[in-house]
Amino acid sequence: MSTDATLSFEEAMEKYDPVLGFEVHVELNTKTKMFSSAPNVFGDEPNTNVNEVDLGMPGVLPVVNRIAIESSIKIGLALNCKIAESCTFARKQYFYPDTPKNFQTSQYEDPIAYDGYLDIELSDGTIFRVEIERAHMEEDAGKLTHMGGASGRIQGADFSLVDYNRSGVPLVEIVTKPIEGAGSRAPELAKAYVAAVREIVKNLGVSDAKMERGNVRCDANVSLRPHGRERFGIRSETKNVNSLRAVEHAVRYEIQRHAAVLDAGNPVIQETRHWHEDTRTTTSGRPKSDADDYRYFPEPDLVPIVASREWVEELRATLPEPPAARRKRLQADWGYSDLEFRDVVNAGVMDEVEETIAAGASASVARKWWMGEIVGRAKNADVDPGQLGVQPATIVELNQLVEDGKINNKMATEVLDGVLAGEGTPAEIVEKRGLAVVSDDGPLMEAIDAALDAQPDVADKIRGGKVQAIGAIVGGVMKATRGQADAGRVRELILAKLGVEG
């Protein structure tokens, strides 16, 4: 794999102005597929959730899933789009074994939703408006696994396996207009935009919205132009960037790569790029020209979709509150300061905090754990916090263990590591690792006596009423018990011993 030259991001920004564009594919969570009655279920045995339609058997015909239309209209409305009164499907034709009919049934000339926008809040609170060109319906392809090759790509593979379970899963593809003016905030905007789309489809309940499962997939278009020039540069399209962090990194990398190409006086090649999470680089895919000939023509097996205004308004009335309103409500409910709340949003854990509170944690406990412990661990592991696998119930259980005095905070973080390492539930880990607060006062009293003897001047201060000096004695006791003592209990015992009111 050749390594492309890159410029530093700062230098790239000095010389060039980035223009972005996104195609986000959202898999709908309808019960059945876009054009067949086969179940739309992730993760089952290959080629079990298929019928003759999904396999492209001779003689089959598609029938549009009405719920998928409703979901698409809801997405369109949430993206502030116009909804077409009547729209059609077309056939996009190309030979590839993941597409059983050798054409994909997709909307082409007349998408169900068009001309919308999404206001994106950046980390400092700035609002950036992204214009939405269209949101159209299409069917997903099957999943190919290429065996025996070095790269996992079809080139060089000995053979390929195909799973048609995903074939025919309803997709909505959301396409932005070219996004200009983001400047050096382009990578951040990229991440924030995809996060916002993900949040919308999740709140609408129309998608499971799990990026790691490919429910939300992003193709990121990047081009550069010298500052002050109006004409766009040549773009690359980085395919299937499947986490929020990866979206940010991929846009940043492509800006740096384009800048180096342009700086060397070369033209950027119009092509697709593959994102590699391990090296955080992209490699060349296939050339992509605007003139790719898919021989689109209207799908003759389907009749136009008619979305009456009454139906659209009925669906509009079912929409959940918009993200901005929801944020306002959540912040008020949780009692976070502006800064606290923005940190939660920027860390990408708002949904997780909400779920944790719903599971029984207090707002401050939820924030403490997500912001104080999990976000940092995610950063170290270089994944989105939600992908670490921490369940809301785990946090509630951990917190309960602390509140019950069974473990202290220090132990709790150790237990969390155990949970992430897959050692079991918090209670099991406490048991297995022998982590328990020493609750027998006998050994504690010995440690307290020793600590008071070691620091007689501090003991005197406390006796004299300077209760805040107690920290030094408590610290000594905790050190002596290797952190296994309950600090609160230690404090009580010290005060009792010295005959001072706490």
Binding site: E52, L55, G56, M57, P58, G59, V60, L61, P62, V63, V64, R91, Q93, F95, Y96, P97, P100, K101, N102, F103, I154, S160, V162, A291, D293, R295, Y296, F297, P300, D301, L302, V303
Partner: protein, 519 residues
């Protein structure tokens, strides 16, 4: 029991009546047809109407019907009118338990895992399926010579074509190998074979019969329909297969009219019947023209008003058809790639890539006419040509629809010869695609507009003694009119001839024996 030679010559309606009355059993009827197939279909000079004969299953269904009838009671009462009446199915329509080839090598040996909706309905009516009938590969042709499994021969003259693409279904019915058959009609594949074999065939209104399970050639034109020896029989079969199907989005929601009643009542008094100026005269064989004029005269005598209408855009219909049909076909046939089912051919040398396996499979699996249409359609849909070809053809389609609207403002039913000529000789037009395409000049407009059409035998041409077809056309969703007028014309013609036209068809068993003796 009736003599088997008489039995196989009865109409489906007559058989249904005898079965209901207990005068004959379904096993007897089914066996008589199976015997006839065995006698006339195979061999070097056989009709070759069947690609697969479904003996066991057909007899099992027949026996089941007989048992239900014998037991009597509610189950016997509930039997469908056509229960026990056998039928042949064009091999473009998928069936569980029998191979479906579409007349192509690329599907040789393939068994469908599901039944077409029309087949489900035949099964629900308990009609024994005799087998699958021959066709031009993927229904592309007008002579059945493009079948990968050899041509079907016309029972009237075994050296002549039976029409196409549904030559197998038409010949099976004409040769008394089946009382009924299913066909598909994209540009005339039910009606033109009906014309040249002296049988009846109907292309219903587009959407009137579910296409689910008919291997698509051109989705916006394809329609399944009945093939029979009488107008009433087609109406009866039409009622079995017609009506809404949730598996076909283009299927009409309308409840089906009582088509058999229309055929039984039959009336043309005061009806305006329009001759389409552009669909007779120049380019039509003299004998065809004579029989056509004779039919007009009979209708007039029966009280119909004959008017002349003009459909000026019909002159562009054939050209538009040969852009829309191949465009859709090129797309519909893309799925035949050797990846999931059917033939798979590996390239003989060079690297083994998916593209090369697909290419080798399609090169070996498709015949020349299919390749011709795939190439034509691929070209017509290509960027830069789409507007000039596919786009313009769609505009012509709209104009043809408007011509029909204007014509139906002046006439209740339109009439024309079904095909410009009688059956031509096998091989005569095989290397001249344009001459072959011209056979469908009178049938194609109905497919472009989605209106229903019926062909019935109009007599024999003076010059060659071969059958001539008369075509009736009605507005969309007015299929009943075809049966009403068709039944009248049929009875007037038969009165003139003194019996069904097929009575004059050669007895094939003798022909075959003669041919054997000549050797």
């Amino acid at each position: 029991m009736t003599d088997t030679n008489e039995l196989i010559r009865l109409s489906a309606a007559q058989l249904a009546g005898m079965l209901a009355a207990g005068e004959v059993t379904s096993v007897e009827v089914t066996q008589a047809y199976l015997d006839r197939i065995a006698a006339v279909d195979g061999g070097e000079r056989g009709v070759n109407a069947f690609l697969h004969v479904n003996t066991e299953e057909a007899l099992a269904v027949a026996a089941e019907v007989d048992a239900i009838r014998a037991a009597g009671g509610a189950a016997a009462e509930e039997l469908h009118e056509l229960a026990g009446v056998p039928i042949a199915v064009k091999d473009l329509i998928v069936t569980i338990g029998q191979p479906t080839t579409a007349g192509s090598k690329i599907l040789e040996g393939w068994h469908s895992p599901y039944d077409a909706t029309v087949v489900k309905r035949l099964r629900a009516a308990k009609m024994p399926i005799l087998g699958k009938t021959n066709l031009d590969e993927f229904a592309m042709g007008s002579s059945t010579e493009h079948s990968a499994y050899g041509p079907t021969r016309n029972p009237w003259d075994l050296d002549r074509i039976p029409g196409g693409s549904g030559g197998g279904s038409a010949a099976a019915v004409a040769a008394f190998e089946a009382p009924l058959a299913l066909g598909t009609d994209t540009g005339g594949s039910i009606r033109q074979p009906g014309a040249v074999t002296g049988t009846v065939g109907v292309k219903p209104t587009y959407g009137g019969v579910s296409r689910y399970g008919a291997i698509a050639m051109a989705s916006s034109l394809d329609q399944i329909g009945p093939v029979s020896r009488t107008v009433l029989d087609s109406a009866l079969l039409h009622q079995v297969i017609g009506g809404h199907d949730p598996h076909d989005s283009t299927s009409l929601q309308d409840p089906l009219e009582d088509l058999a009643a229309a055929a039984r009542i039959g009336n043309v008094d005061g009806m305006r019947i329009g001759i389409i100026k552009e669909l007779h005269g120049e380019g039509y064989q003299a004998g065809v023209e004579n029989r056509f004029n004779e039919s007009l005269e009979l209708l007039k005598q029966a009280g119909a008003e004959i008017v002349e209408v003009s459909c000026p855009n019909f002159q562009y219909a054939l050209g538009a058809y040969y852009l829309i049909m191949p465009s859709e076909a090129s797309s519909n046939l893309a799925k035949f790639d050797g990846v999931r089912y059917g033939l798979r051919v590996l390239p003989e040398n060079g690297p083994m890539t998916i593209e090369r396996v697909m290419g080798a499979t399609r090169a070996a699996g498709f015949g020349d006419e299919v390749k011709r249409r795939i190439i034509l359609g691929t070209y017509a849909l290509s960027a830069g040509y789409y507007d000039a070809y596919y786009g313009s053809a769609q505009k012509v389609r709209t104009l043809v629809q408007r011509d029909f609207e204007a014509a139906f403002a002046q006439a209740d039913v339109l009439i024309s010869p079904t095909a410009p000529t009688t059956a031509f000789k096998l091989g005569e037009k095989l290397n001249d695609p344009l001459a072959m395409y011209l056979n469908d000049v009178a049938t194609i407009p109905a497919n472009l507009a989605g209106v229903p059409g019926l062909t019935l035998p109009g007599g024999l041409a003076d010059e060659d003694g071969l059958p001539v077809g008369i075509q009736l056309l009605a507005p969309a969703r007015e299929d009943a009119r075809l049966y009403r007028v068709g039944a009248v014309l049929e009875s007037l013609l038969e009165a003139q001839w003194g019996g069904p036209l097929l009575d004059r068809a050669p007895s094939l068993v003798e022909t075959l024996v003669d041919a054997k003796e000549a050797k």
